[in-house]
């Protein structure tokens, strides 16, 4: 950066803006902003395109004269659009986050929190379970041969189908509240962790395992000193997927618990009443939540990797 300054001396005005631009481009803000702007633009295009047939139908039924400008304006202001315009979604989010008490059941923040808590609980249980299973699979041949196929099979069970039954059964044995929902998150999130960690625990090079063998290192020692550190990159990649799936699980799990509260209930109620704008607002909240969770895992990854002396 400093080295480039003397070279840029002639025409310093443009060079200055150049570096400012570069500094922004090197950061994340500008690229994200540009990509977002592009997406928003395309989105507006689609809003008009997708909502137009309905709007034209309205005009015809009401026998009104209309111009293209009218059409563009009206397609972005429908009450139940096929695709709501970005500003409609934002307005709805503003209304349901800022303008209401966070504790009110109309507050999106409240619903997000409910979903988040079961996501986190489920994710924590799921990751732990996944790691433990992977440990078992890597260390016990019987488990390797027999459990893995059934872990895979378990994932092909459509969770939404069993979720109500799980909830009913758990209710029958006295479990209710956060845990049943969290268990559905667990069910979805342990799988990527198992798959990733089995791979990770098996990723040490032959020579490294040989070295541990020459020390007659116990399995536990080999595990903590070699397998675990080698598997960490896999752990974090898996956890990114797992935390995102966990959220999906929590949302799915909210349906059979009676669609009472949480982003899932909100989505459902929205679709039940055809409130597209409300669906999209909830959808965005969910996505924002997921993005922050994934980013958080990513941050953890960077910190841990830096502590492990990874090459920058």
């Amino acid at each position: 950066m400093t080295a480039s300054t003397p070279i840029a001396a002639p025409g310093s005005a443009s060079a200055a803006t150049g570096t400012v631009f570069r500094r922004l481009a090197d950061g994340k803000a500008l690229p994200i902003a540009i990509v977002v702007a592009a997406i928003v633009l395309i989105w507006y295009g689609f809003t008009v395109y997708l909502n137009a047939p309905w709007q034209i139908g309205l005009y015809q039924r009401a026998d009104t004269e209309w111009t293209a400008a009218d059409l563009v304006r009206d397609t972005m202001a429908q009450e139940r659009p096929v695709l709501p315009a970005p500003h409609q979604v934002l307005a709805e989010m503003w209304k349901t986050t800022v303008e209401v008490r966070p504790t009110s059941n109309r507050s999106l923040l409240n619903h997000a929190w409910i979903t988040l808590s079961s996501t986190l609980l489920g994710f924590a249980i799921g990751t732990t379970l996944g790691v433990l299973l992977a440990v078992g699979i890597v260390h016990n041949r019987a488990m390797d041969k027999s459990v893995m196929p059934w872990v895979i099979a378990s994932q092909t069970i459509p969770i939404l189908a069993v979720a109500p039954m799980i909830i009913v059964v758990l209710n029958a044995i006295g479990l209710s509240g956060l845990l049943p929902k969290a268990l559905i998150s667990t069910y979805l999130s342990f799988f990527p962790v198992v798959v990733g960690m089995v791979k990770g625990f098996r990723s040490p090079e032959a020579i490294q395992l040989d070295l541990m063998r020459t020390y007659n290192s116990s399995r536990t020692q080999t595990f903590f000193k070699l397998r675990w550190p080698s598997a960490l990159p896999f752990l974090f990649t898996s956890m990114k997927v797992a935390v995102a799936i966990s959220l999906v699980g929590a949302i799915v799990g909210e349906l059979p618990t009676g669609a009472v509260a949480g982003l899932g209930a909100r989505l459902l109620a929205g679709s039940y009443y055809g409130q597209t704008i409300q669906i999209w607002a909830a959808l965005f909240m969910a996505a924002a939540l997921a993005a922050s969770l994934v980013a958080l895992v990513g941050l953890g990854q960077r910190l841990v990797m830096a502590r492990m002396g990874a090459r920058p």
């Binding site: 994932q155 092909t156 990649t237 959220l247 799915v252 989505l267 909830a282």
Partner: protein, 286 residues
């Protein structure tokens, strides 16, 4: 504790011991080796079923909550045409097509992101965003956009499988070692040459990770998407309908088909993985 429950538990203990004994054998003949690697999970599975049957019968669990495996089996045998039609609709159409498109686009997006540092910073965080678009949120929207039939289900599968592929491929593309990248640099290899000859092979274990995770996610996605409006055929349709009709055995019959199809699909991907990434320590080591 009653006899059925006790019997189930005894069976479990016995089967576990048998498996432990079996895996200690390491036959040299490849045929025996293959047989063993099928026998062990089979015994485990049979154990699960026996324990299930025993517990359901022994504890008198209402069949509308959980039917015993024997009842499910009867139902499977009795409803083959329906099951086949549902399988064709959901798996052969929605899952396979959605999987191919979702994995494909996730992969291409990862390449695009990798190619351009700009996109890497701009698009990857948004990729995280897409990842969490919950199926139950997008499924109705996809039905709105792509109609009732399988294309809307395939679209849901695309959205679900996209992110795992993206994340894994991006991670995999940075998995090649520094010295190997230096080597390619000394050849002044072009971006694409480095990609195809070094970075993609080195990324293959990660990519297969995603392909495996996605093989099960795709099925879940397609089935769940069918809860939100479909023609009256499909595994998800059948499941949601038959739950309402208290035909829980039919629900489990569909689940069994889904589990079988999903496991075979996964097995196929895993088999291809072994062939393609034979050099990776996790596979070389056996």
């Amino acid at each position: 504790m009653n006899a059925a429950v006790a019997g189930a538990l005894v069976f479990w203990a016995g089967a576990w011991a048998l498996n432990e004994w079996l895996v200690r054998h390491n036959p040299r003949a490849p045929l025996a080796r293959r047989a063993l690697s099928l026998l062990v999970p089979a015994i485990f599975g049979i154990t699960l079923l026996v324990v299930w049957e025993g517990l359901v019968r022994g504890l008198n669990v209402p069949t509308v909550l959980l039917p015993p495996p024997s009842m499910i089996w009867d139902r499977i045998v009795g409803s083959v045409p329906t099951l086949w039609a549902d399988f064709r609709q959901t798996f052969l159409k929605a899952v396979l097509i959605g999987y191919a498109l979702g994995c494909g686009s996730g992969f291409l997006a990862a390449i695009a992101i990798d190619r351009s540092p700009f996109l890497k910073r701009g698009l990857l965080p948004l990729g995280n965003f897409v990842s969490a678009l919950p199926i139950i949120g997008i499924a109705p929207i996809m039905v709105m956009w792509f109609g009732f039939d399988w294309p809307s289900k395939a679209a849901v599968v695309v959205v679900m499988t996209f992110f795992p592929m993206l994340v894994n491929t991006v991670a995999g593309l940075s998995a090649s070692s520094a010295i190997d990248r230096d080597l390619m640099r000394t050849y002044a290899a072009s971006y694409w040459q480095t990609l195809f000859k070094l970075r993609l092979p080195a990324a293959a274990p990660f990519i297969f990770n995603a392909l495996k995770i996605n093989s099960t996610l795709a099925l879940i996605g397609a089935i769940v998407a069918e809860f939100f409006g479909t023609p009256i055929v499909g595994m998800g349709f059948r499941i949601s309908t038959e739950v309402g009709r208290m035909n829980i055995d039919m629900v489990w019959a569909e689940i069994a088909v889904a589990a079988l199809a999903g496991s075979l699909f996964y097995g196929l991907v895993a088999q291809i993985e072994r062939a393609v990434t034979f050099w990776h320590p996790s596979i070389r080591g056996g």
